[in-house]
């Protein structure tokens, strides 16, 4: 419409130029840090190439000293010689165990939040938000002292329980949203045909949110996969997680403030990123939806 009212429309390319530039910048900004990480891990240093610093003439003979020497060595070392597979196993076990517990508590609660209009229900939503403001140190130190005493330190169960702090609020919020999306007429129809509360939940409500439950599980998994602080204080040698392995370059140096070998860190960071990105792509359309439905007034 706008262009039609112009007496002389500018060429297509010029009209779209700002959009292209914006997309280029946004793409570079989103993508380049990850790309750099991959390049560093694979020993691909582009700087000397495009700055021209990598080329010189040594007594008249062109000489290349740039950093472009691609190699898979860091990735191979992390996967074969480092303990990356073990870290993946640890993270996965801890996350799955934690998510199962979170679902057991969160599915009924999400359902109640979505369907009941009792007064206390809004307070629970707010309580979960308020609990998110708790500093991890107020949780981790007491858990650490307790875990040492009862033998839960550096165990899968101990870590899974600690991670309930992270996944329970997400599960309750997102699921209450998905339960809210189930049309009220379905519940009414079931009630009028004499179904019990339990039947309504198991036969109607739960199957309707199956996809939502899966999406919530995947998102919670990514959150736990990426968690660093609690893992660094509550795990020992047996239950180290993937994101800890990023900082230690999947080697043994670990937990301290000193970082490990730069290339190894980047290779490990890339390896940790790829599965998380795949999972985020799967659930992307459900993320905003779950939160939107949960916060609808």
């Amino acid at each position: 419409m706008t262009q039609a009212s112009n007496p002389k429309p500018r060429p297509w390319v010029f009209r779209r130029l700002p959009v292209f530039l914006g997309l280029l910048l946004a793409t570079l900004f989103s993508f380049w840090p990850i790309m750099t990480m991959f390049f560093e891990g694979a020993d691909i240093d582009l700087g000397p190439l495009w700055s021209g610093k990598g080329f010189s003439f040594v007594s008249g003979v062109p000489y290349y000293s740039g950093g472009f020497f691609p190699s898979w060595a860091n990735f191979r070392d992390a996967l074969l010689w480092g303990n990356f597979p073990k870290l993946v196993l640890n993270s996965t076990t801890i996350a799955l165990l934690s998510i199962v517990i979170a679902l057991a508590a969160g599915i009924p609660a999400g359902y109640a939040l979505a369907r009941s209009k009792l007064r206390g229900m809004g307070a629970i939503g707010f309580l979960l938000l308020a609990l998110r403001t708790v500093s991890p140190f107020a949780i981790v130190l007491p858990l650490y002292l307790t875990y040492i005493r009862v033998g839960l330190f550096d165990t899968y169960l101990g870590m899974s329980l600690a991670y309930l702090v992270i996944d329970v609020p997400v599960v309750v919020w997102m699921l209450s949203g998905f339960f809210r999306e189930v049309p009220g007429s379905m519940y009414e129809a079931a009630e009028s045909s004499g179904a019990s509360e339990a039947q309504i939940f198991w036969r109607i409500a739960l199957p309707s949110v199956a996809v939502g439950v899966a999406a919530t599980m995947i998102f919670a998994f990514v959150l736990i996969w990426n968690e660093f602080l609690m893992a660094s204080l509550l795990t020992g040698a047996a239950t180290k997680t993937v994101s800890l392995g990023v900082w230690s370059g999947v080697g043994e140096a670990f937990g301290g403030l000193q970082s490990a070998d730069w290339d190894a860190i980047n290779a490990a960071g890339t390896l940790a990123f790829v599965p998380a990105f795949a999972l985020i792509l799967i659930v992307r359309q459900y993320l905003a939806k779950g939160f939107s439905l949960a916060t609808a007034e």
Binding site: M1, L23, A26, T27, F29, S30, P33, T36, M37, G52, K53, A105, P108, A109, Y111, L113, R115, S116, L118, G120, M121, L129, A130, L131, R132, T133, V134, S135, F137, A138, I139, V140, L141, P142, L145, A162, E197, W225, N226, F228, L229, S243, V246, W247, G255, L257, W262, I265, N266, G269, F273, A276, I280, R284, A288, F291, S292, A294, T295, E297
Partner: protein, 290 residues
């Protein structure tokens, strides 16, 4: 579905009691006793000691600056990316996927990806050799703080973008068509219809609060930067409150881990964050009513 609702939230309450209420109560206990040196009740001595330390105030203000900055920048990034995507005609799904990449990155990965010898090395090379400018020093002039904010926003901007997109999609089609039929450009349609819809939606307000709250606890990115800049002692300029507490745990100043002091600090952080959240909540409710 009235009485049953109470029973349905019992498991949730039980879980919260174990993983939230118990540790919190324990923290309060730790913060008013002298843990490790007798364990006697010392009242508010730990708090007094905490408040008398300039490092604590420095770390707290870094945290507040960091999370305010990160909240604002990630909103700006998320909304502008969402607007950009509405302008794309073909391949929108591909661009959306690319813009979502940072969301999958662990915070520690964001710390690594934006390291001085990683991403900023590339930027510096470009800046120096292609544009002919002098190198900029990421360690100086509080530039590291800006980069930390930027990398945190890099990670969470995409979440804001997803939410903004979902709000834009929920605006009824005729509203846009009406605006366009009056000859409004894409930008002015967005400014008058899309943007207010995003900024006034409950879900966006919820996300803003979550973003602020999460950034107040930010640890991994400052932690990584402490590594890059070799700020390994408590009270360094990169310290957010979480990082400061972590350093007290790992490299305690007198060799004794001040567990009671750390508990007190964690509780102070909790109170500050709650106050900030309440303020934000009030502010946004007020805005929504107008």
């Amino acid at each position: 579905m009235d009485r049953t609702a109470y029973f349905l939230v019992v498991p949730l309450i039980a879980v919260l009691a174990v993983v939230e209420a118990y540790p919190l109560a324990y923290s309060v206990y730790l913060s008013v006793t002298s843990y490790g040196v007798g364990g006697a009740f010392v009242g508010l001595t730990n708090y007094a000691q905490l408040f008398s330390q300039p490092d604590f105030w420095a770390a707290l203000s870094t945290s507040v600056v960091f999370s305010s900055g990160s909240t604002v920048v990630s909103i700006a990034l998320g909304v502008s990316f969402a607007y950009l995507l509405t302008l794309v005609r073909r391949g929108r799904g591909v661009f959306e996927a690319v813009f979502l990449m940072p969301l999958a990155a662990a915070p520690i990965v964001a710390g690594v990806a934006f390291a001085p010898s990683g991403f900023w090395d590339d930027i510096n090379t470009f800046w120096h050799y292609v544009l002919g400018q002098p190198y900029f020093n990421v360690a100086g002039n509080h530039l590291y703080l800006f980069i930390m904010v930027l990398s945190d926003s890099w990670e969470w901007g995409p979440m804001m973008m997803l939410v903004a997109l979902s709000v834009l999609a929920s605006v009824p089609r005729p509203v846009y068509e009406a605006s366009e039929s009056f000859g409004a450009s894409r930008w002015s349609t967005f400014r008058t219809v899309g943007l207010p819809a995003i900024l006034n939606s409950p879900v966006f307000h919820f996300m803003i609060i979550i973003r602020f709250v999460d950034a107040m606890r930010a640890f991994e990115i400052p932690f990584a930067w402490a590594g890059w800049l070799n700020y390994l002692y408590p009270g360094a300029p990169t310290d957010t409150l979480s990082l400061y507490l972590f350093k007290l745990l790992l490299v305690p100043p007198n060799g004794v881990i001040p567990i009671s002091l750390i508990s007190a600090a964690a509780l102070v952080l909790l109170v500050v964050t709650l106050l900030g959240t309440t303020l934000l909540y009030r502010l946004m409710r007020g805005l929504r009513k107008i």
